[in-house]
């Protein structure tokens, strides 16, 4: 091996960078977020169901909220008809946050885990939570 010292040092740097996710996570438990659904309003619901199915909401809620915003702000249309034909008022504060009044335990739990920072509440008023 020629110039062994320099080449080994280079390889060590390479390994330190590429194996970083492994030794960073080594021995850490997978802290999976569990968004809480136990708000008073949800508990009083006869049928505990969001405006769309759980799978849809889990994957597409950001798209839905964006579409709602465009529909309300640009077209003045506040009525949303879901896949089952049920009608809802398109409103983050009066529809979504009416049930999900626990932003910290609901919205933030996944958003923090994924390091996502939606800008909903730079315009909307944050819900007042009892536990802060």
């Amino acid at each position: 091996m020629y110039n062994g010292g320099k080449i080994i040092a280079g390889l060590v740097v390479f390994l330190a960078i590429f194996l970083f996710p492994f030794y960073y996570n080594f021995g850490k438990a997978n802290a999976k977020p569990e968004p809480k659904l136990n708000t008073p309003v949800i508990q009083q619901l006869a049928e505990k169901k969001c405006v769309e199915s759980k799978d849809f909401m889990r994957q597409e809620h950001m798209q839905l909220l964006n579409d709602w915003r465009d529909s309300v702000v640009r077209d003045g249309n506040r009525i949303y008809v879901n896949a089952e034909g049920k009608k809802f008022t398109m409103s983050l504060q009066n529809t979504c946050l009416n049930c999900h009044s626990n932003k910290k335990e609901f919205c933030d739990s996944c958003h923090n885990y994924m390091a996502v920072k939606p800008y909903c509440f730079s315009c909307h008023i944050q819900p007042k939570e009892d536990k802060s």
């Binding site: 080449i7 390889l11 960073y24 996570n25 889990r58």
Partner: protein
């Protein structure tokens, strides 16, 4: 054929992942076993390639000399293009790795009427290469938000800068657009220039199509057919902490993306992509041009027994004197 074969290969890879997960339900194979195997091949293969390169001797001092070398004190040396010290070599290497200076010097040759040959500057390869590599690096760093449970500020800042135009939801990343644009340009460059097309091999097209596939599946997953992203992070963290889990409800498109990335990792050490490590080991780049000051000894020189004239005279002095030959020492 040289173009169709790698394209078909990438399509087949997509189909394998789609059939394996979407139809046969082999989430564990595509989500855990193949990524682990690919990472092992990548790391071990990379080390093997670098070690095997380090075994090759460099017989001559062969740095490229693209400027005025160190000479008399009143002649100005070009320290970055013709370095004579280790510091200069590091500077030149850094500029090469970070800014691709040698591609900046890329020229095109044209035969005009006359006939005369003209040489002109050709910067598109440089700019597209730079855009491609830098956006790939930023995308890789950005992915650390899936690799770390508490995402550090630096990564959140890079992500914020990358999406600062706030187009659509989820926010559009500029690097996604730049990467796809640059890689498309690099493919069309090979296809449109006859000379480049002639020397292009399947091994040149395959990585481009593969990276294009990775970018397209990633973009689809973020902006079009969404996946259950919390499940994705759970799977990735499970892999990295050696406690593999397969959460339910992640879309097939994620497994296609992961399979293409695994293919890229496994393919890396046995392909031209090794230029990532190889650029640091190129003698034309990593040697100082100091051959007038420091003697470069060929490491595989045969050990020749040298018999100097002084020793020769010592041995034959008496006989030389008798024969009337001149000697240096009496």
């Amino acid at each position: 054929m040289k173009i169709v074969l790698p394209l078909v290969a990438v399509i087949v890879l997509v189909v394998i992942a789609f059939a394996g997960v979407g139809i046969a339900g082999m989430q564990f194979l595509f989500g855990v076993l193949i990524p682990y195997a690919a990472i092992a091949v990548f790391i071990l293969g990379f080390i093997y390639r670098v070690i095997s390169w380090s075994r090759s001797p460099v017989p001559f001092s062969i740095p490229t000399t693209a400027g005025q070398m160190k000479s008399f004190p009143w002649i100005k040396q070009n320290k970055l293009d013709n370095p004579s010290s280790t510091l200069g070599v590091i500077g030149r290497m850094a500029l090469e790795v970070l800014l691709f200076r040698s591609l900046f010097r890329n020229t095109k040759t044209e035969l005009r009427d006359g006939p005369t040959i003209t040489y002109g500057s050709e910067k598109f390869l440089w700019i597209a290469g730079l855009a491609f590599h830098w956006s790939f690096l930023i995308i890789f760093i950005r992915h650390f938000r899936f690799f770390m449970q508490d995402v550090p500020l630096v990564i959140r800042m890079i992500e914020g800068l990358d999406s600062f135009l706030q187009i659509g939801v989820p926010l559009l990343y500029l690097t996604d657009v730049v990467l796809l644009g640059a890689v498309t340009f690099l493919v069309f460059r090979r296809l449109s220039m006859p000379l480049i097309k002639y020397i292009s091999l399947p091994a040149d097209y395959f990585p481009l199509f593969l990276i294009m596939g990775i970018a397209i599946t990633g973009i689809l997953m973020r902006y079009f057919t969404k996946v259950y992203i919390v499940g994705v992070k759970e799977l990735v963290i499970g892999l990295l902490s050696f406690q593999p889990v397969i959460p339910d409800g992640i879309g097939v498109i994620f497994y296609i993306h992961l399979f293409l990335v695994s293919t890229l990792l496994a393919y890396f050490p046995m392909s031209k992509l090794m230029h990532m490590g190889g650029v640091f080991l190129s003698p034309t780049r990593n040697m100082a041009n100091n051959s007038r000051a420091v003697r470069h000894v060929n490491p595989w020189n045969y050990p020749v027994h040298v018999h100097t004239y002084a020793e020769y005279e010592e041995e034959f002095r008496e006989k030389m004197k008798k024969a009337g030959l001149p000697v240096e020492k009496e």
